[in-house]
């Protein structure tokens, strides 16, 4: 594997070609916050917490470090005014949906205890829609028993119809979900033997 020289937060490091900025930073001991990332899964680029500022050819750009491949001579800054601004707002947005989960720690790091946004009513277990359970089931277990339903502000996680057949009850998705949503859904499946599409209640505007 070819090695490339990149600069992250002023530190020049050697990164393997084909790896992401996030992976290279981690190798150099620089931690970038993530929510939807898991080394066992394909990069997804949905939570946007891992956004960093890159500079090449004297042009600056904000990118999701989990998806952005390292390039020769790339300059990366993981903490800038804009990056902080993004993470703060994202943490507040998630706090308005879900009071528990990995984002709470990120919020604390930025000194946020309470969101300025109105709370989104969600009677069931909170979910940040990071999609780890969906992707874990599809990519690692090859079962596709968990899916997204709906789009936009109506997006939610559900077990696919007949999931009791496809789901091998490995419960490995329990470990990837830090909000407890998936446990809730699976419990529901076990209660109802004939499973219709079990989506969580729609969130209200």
């Amino acid at each position: 594997m070819t090695s490339l020289s990149v600069t992250i937060d002023g530190k020049t490091i050697q990164a393997d070609e084909g790896t992401s900025v996030l992976q290279s930073a981690k190798k150099a001991g620089i931690i970038i916050p993530t929510l939807c990332h898991d080394e066992a899964l394909e990069p997804y680029g949905a939570c946007r917490f891992c956004m960093v500022e890159i500079e090449k050819n004297n042009r600056k750009k904000l990118v999701a470090s989990c998806c952005y491949p390292v390039e020769k001579g790339l300059i990366v800054r993981t903490k800038t005014e804009n990056v902080d601004k993004i993470r703060k707002i994202l943490a507040e947005l998630l706090l308005s949906v879900s009071p528990s989960g990995a984002h709470v720690d990120i919020a604390k790091q930025y000194g946020i205890v309470q969101s300025r946004f109105k709370q989104t009513e969600n009677s069931e277990s909170p979910c940040s829609l990071c999609g780890l359970c969906v992707r874990y089931c599809a990519e690692v277990k090859k079962k596709n028993a968990v899916c997204f339903v709906g789009r936009g502000i109506d997006r939610t996680i559900a077990l696919v119809p007949g999931a009791s057949d496809t789901c091998s009850s490995c419960r490995e998705c329990f470990n990837v979900c830090d909000a407890g949503k998936i446990v809730y859904l699976v419990d529901m499946v076990q209660e109802i033997s004939c499973l219709p599409l079990q989506s969580s209640q729609k969130r209200s505007i």
């Binding site: 707002i89 994202l90 947005l93 109105k118 989104t120 789009r151 936009g152 505007i205």
Partner: protein
């Protein structure tokens, strides 16, 4: 059915068609685009068929169902050739008069002609109508001369000559160079140079390569791609074929939204015809070049117009965008190099190849060459599709072609670029329209939507409308777009209902900025544009809403109806028209509207003959204040 095995075959067929076609023969062109179709143009066609039969004219007169002419405001449109008499709003009842007067005697039917709004005079010829006269109808002009179901109609007008030229006289590199030299920019939104995109796909290492037509047009009020795909599908296919030849692709897709049934039907029909004529398939026109096209029907998601989402959908997965740090031109459909362009972009290609890049670049501005089709809608007299050279001013489009604002009202703003575009205020009426100028004032070209708004429009309400649309149409994959739009919509709902506070405005601005910086795809990144552009030019309206006033008197929560005691005659007409019995008053004495019961439908104002009913705003403040303290937050 003739199958062309060489360029000569096609040219011979072209000449044959021309020699068989008599340009002096009477022909009735009836617009059968979606707009006119909705106005029952099919019944007009039926009436013409019946009348021609009755007068034994079926042999000497042709009837043609054409694609959209663009002047949708006046549909159904009927044009009689060779006279070029243009009739507006034709009903089946008008047909017998047209046949006896125009077809039999060659005289125009005065009452069906277009009336000039300024002079009040009737205009006989189609080309003299200001709406058409001031356009440059390069791409769209053939729509009115073609039956979209007839490949011969297209060939008779020189169709597929560009393909023949490319295949027989040019190398793929020469075709690419020509398109690059023409500086054709993508008509779908971003305005990315098409030639550069083609080149990236052409030079990408992987095989096979794909080309795609993006006909997933979904902006509210925009329908130019639809009308082109419905009215002249062969022009798009020809452009795609030429592009595929230049790029080295042998497989192409037309992604059409399922909600465009006529576009789906006509595209599929055109592909079948092209296959039968040897213009698609193996060894096209004896050149050795193979190419096939498949139609993919979209399942109704706005976001699928985004290139990576569209490719996901063709692959059979949910149409959700993915990060494009490696461009789709290099790794797109099934991770293979894929060149995707919008309908209008492809339709430009045959013109460039036929007439040269230099000729093409002579139209428009140096950085935005050629023409652009806009869908001109909203508060404008001549609603319809207009094609103009880039660099024309907004004023020319709205006033010269569009005929100005109805009822003598004042223009307030123009919204361009679809939901993620921006609102341009009246002071920029003389702005020249091209990709860069629109971007500089905080809007964008987008695919060419142009919504004209008059003084009665509330700009906060407009922002709320577009944000609501985007909140429904976001795929929901990335956090800033999904939750950001939810919160933006909430705050806008609060502002329009008078329950927002000043800090909400600050939060809205901060959030908009973050969503713009951090969203995954172009939908999310541009989603705050309706807010940011209205804040930029109409901040005073936002501030008024915070004070409990809606200056345009649109937001229901901030307006009320009142009766002016000096003008009310006590006739009782408003009481009769009130559906909720919210008006009280004895006969011949001053009436009063009970605000707690009023649903603000406006029936009283419309029905009052003495202008005694007035709409007011700003008086709800105390009431709203009470609501806030009671605990909505």
């Amino acid at each position: 059915m003739e199958k062309f095995s060489s360029v000569e075959d096609l040219e011979n067929h072209h000449q044959n068609l021309l020699s068989r076609r008599d340009s002096k023969k009477l022909s009735i062109a009836i617009c059968s685009g979606t707009g006119c179709h909705a106005y029952a143009s099919e019944k007009v066609v039926g009436a013409f068929e019946e009348q021609l039969q009755k007068h034994n004219l079926t042999v000497s007169v042709d009837i043609k169902r054409t694609g959209c002419h663009g002047f949708c405001e006046k549909g159904p449109i009927v044009v009689i050739y060779p006279h070029e008499f243009c009739y507006c709003k034709v009903t089946p009842q008008d047909v017998s008069e047209i046949v006896t007067q125009t077809i039999q005697q060659g005289k125009p039917v005065e009452r069906l002609l277009y009336t000039d709004q300024k002079t009040g005079k009737k205009i006989t010829l189609e080309t003299e109508i200001p709406f058409y006269k001031n356009q440059t109808r390069l791409i769209f002009g053939n729509n009115r001369k073609i039956d979209p179901k007839s490949i011969d109609d297209y060939i008779a007008l020189g169709g597929y000559a560009g393909l023949a030229k490319a295949l027989s006289k040019m190398t793929p590199q020469q075709v690419l160079d020509e398109v690059k030299k023409a500086n054709l920019r993508g008509r779908g939104g971003g305005g990315f140079p098409a030639g550069k995109k083609w080149e990236t796909t052409k030079n990408a290492a992987e095989e096979p390569k794909y080309v795609i037509v993006n006909c997933d047009e979904g902006d509210p009020g925009a329908y130019m791609d639809r009308s082109l795909m419905e009215g002249n599908p062969h022009s798009v296919l020809e452009g795609l074929l030429i592009g595929a030849y230049a790029i080295g692709a042998h497989e192409g897709y037309v992604y059409v939204r399922q909600e465009y049934p006529l576009a789906v039907e006509n595209t599929e029909h055109a592909i079948r015809q092209a296959e039968e004529h040897g213009l698609l398939g193996k060894n096209i026109l004896g050149s050795g070049f193979d190419f096939n096209i498949k139609v993919h029907r979209g399942a109704g998601a706005f976001v699928s117009g985004e290139s990576s989402a569209l490719m996901s959908a063709i692959e059979g997965r949910v149409g959700e965008p993915r990060p494009k740090y490696i461009h789709t031109a290099v790794s797109g459909l099934w991770n293979k190099p894929t060149c995707l362009n919008n309908v209008e972009t492809w339709a430009n290609v045959p013109f460039i190849i036929n007439n040269s890049a230099q000729w093409f670049a002579s139209m428009g501005t140096p950085n935005s060459t050629g023409t652009k089709i806009f869908s001109l809608v909203g508060n404008v007299n001549n609603t319809g599709l207009v094609e103009v050279p880039m660099g024309i001013t907004l004023r020319e489009i709205i006033y010269t072609i569009g005929g100005g604002i109805p009822k003598g009202k004042r223009l307030k703003a123009v919204q361009t670029g679809g939901p993620s575009g921006g609102c341009i205020p009246e002071k920029y009426l003389d702005l020249t329209i091209d990709f860069d100028e629109l971007y500089n004032v905080g809007s964008m070209m987008g695919s060419g939507g142009m919504i004209v708004m008059d003084e009665d429009t509330c700009m906060v309400d407009i922002a709320r409308y577009f944000v609501n649309f985007l909140a429904q149409e976001s795929c929901g994959k990335c956090l800033p777009c999904r939750e950001g739009l939810r919160q933006m919509l909430r705050i806008l709902n609060d502002i329009t209902s008078g329950t927002a506070l000043e800090e909400d405005m600050e939060l809205l601005e901060e959030l908009s900025e973050v969503v713009q910086m951090s969203a995954l795809c172009a939908l999310g990144q541009s989603a705050p544009n309706p807010i940011l552009s209205t804040l930029k030019y109409f901040r005073d309206e936002y501030e008024a809403h915070l004070r409990g006033e809606c200056p345009a008197k649109v937001c229901k929560a901030l307006t009320q109806y009142e009766i002016d005691p000096a003008k009310c005659k006590g006739c009782g007409l408003c009481t009769k028209n009130c559906s909720v019995e919210a008006i009280e008053g004895k006969n011949k004495s001053v009436h009063r509207i009970k605000n707690d019961m009023c649903i603000k439908c406006g029936n009283c104002l419309d029905s009052c003959k003495f202008n005694a009913v007035v709409k007011t705003t700003g008086k709800q403040k105390e009431f709203l204040k009470k609501q806030i303290t009671v605990g909505t937050r």
